[in-house]
Amino acid sequence: MGVEWGRIVELWPDIQQAFFETLIMISISFGVAFLVGLPLGILLFATERGLFWENRFAKSVLGFIANMIRSIPFIILLVALIPLTNLIVGTTIGPYAASVSLSVAAIPFFARLVETSFREIDKGIIEAATAVGATPMMIIKDVLLPEAKPSLIQGITLTLISLIAYSAMAGVVGGGGIGDLAIRFGYYRYDNTIMIVTVLILIVLVQVIQQAGDWTSKIIDKR
């Protein structure tokens, strides 16, 4: 098993294309996860007992849905959501199609991380804001989000890295991307060069995101 440089040059356009597709999948699904998961995480937290939107019913319904989606293996979710994907994107293959299932999986994942980040905040700070007469929106915007920011960045990092792993799986149903390339060439055709190259790309991508996340989280923390 050796790396043949010729193969890399030959397949470079495919590698580039796959990398680009991976970026599309991650960007779209992370964008959706952020836009939906953040408010969902806030709701999961704020409906808790003793907090400003305390609501046992809402809390248990939201919690149940989040747990349910999270307990379905991604590969099954991928297949189960084919009709929905077809409805939204008009096709079931390619990076855009794969983004639908990735988004659905990432929303509850990120929402739970958001909830956990808020839970790490000293309750006293929220209480002091309540005592001062702050509105719930002010508490969210000026207490929860800023106080949880370093931890939220860690959550974003974790979500992005998990999405990279999941997006590789999306290759199974023809989602495209690096993972797809790895499976098509490396797995089905025993092409070790492509296998190694794609794995290396994934490793580098994960490392870069982790480092960037750690660094940002540290830089913005004023404690």
Partner: protein, 337 residues
Amino acid sequence: MIEIENLTKTYTTKYGTVTGVDQVSLTVEEGEIFGIVGYSGAGKSSLIRCINLLERPTSGAVRVGGSDLTNLSGEQLRKARLKIGMIFQHFHLISQKTVYDNIAFALRAAGTPPKKIRERVDALLEMVGLADKRNVFPGQLSGGQKQRVGIARALANDPTVLLCDEATSALDPNTTLSILQLLKDINRKLNITIILITHEMNVVKEICDRMAVMQDGRVIEEGAVYDVFASPETELTREFISSVVSFDVPEPVLASVSGTLIRVLFRGNAAGEGIISDMLQHYGVKGNFLHGAIEYIQEKPLGIFVMELAGQPAEVTDALRYLENRQATVEVMKYGR
């Protein structure tokens, strides 16, 4: 100003119900500094948190400036809270926001226009002596400075009441004194009613006008601080007082005393030492001081002397009667042999 009526707060926990506050009634007058002392678990925090409804009372009423807070809706309660400041033992500042933003936060809660906010924050920072820390984050401040920010935040919307939950308990003695001085100044200048809870009696002695002692969720003693210090009614209160004003005589000394051991208390301006020396001159008794101190509580002197009187029993009795006639409170700790 603040009326607490039959207030009870119970908590339901996994292990059953816990009573935090048990049938407490208290009235705090406008402009006074009211201290509540008690050991850990006595229910002080529960009580003070029921005043701004951080904790909803299980039963009873809490009226601040006439209106019963327990009847208010969410938004009305929020508005009412703007006028009830609160400071905490661990300050509870937003760590990711500057000193300026922490105080501005309170003003924005009241819908203050942005231009006014700047002026007001700067004035508040000036008042608490932190003008130079305007753009610093709480993590870079000392405990005392953090509490000053807490005070500025609590006072931002000109409250009528300031609630202090162990506001100095995390601070060293000197810093404690400077924060207490600040609270006193605020009380005098702005006529803000202050309720202060603490387990340190010297805090009460330093700045409170009236006080209550809590034990097991109940108020077991209440009165003007001076009176409570001069004549505590319960064992617990006496214990608290002795942490500040000690009249204890060491056991070996007590054992060696053969005469009548008395504790004499002079209130206000009665010149204690003069009266005692008059007594010694007029009656055939010998006096031996074991302890003597003049404490200033609310700037009023309280003279406390522990002494041994030796002489004929009849003379001693007369001497004691003389002291009582001169407005002294006399307590015989041990009769002569």
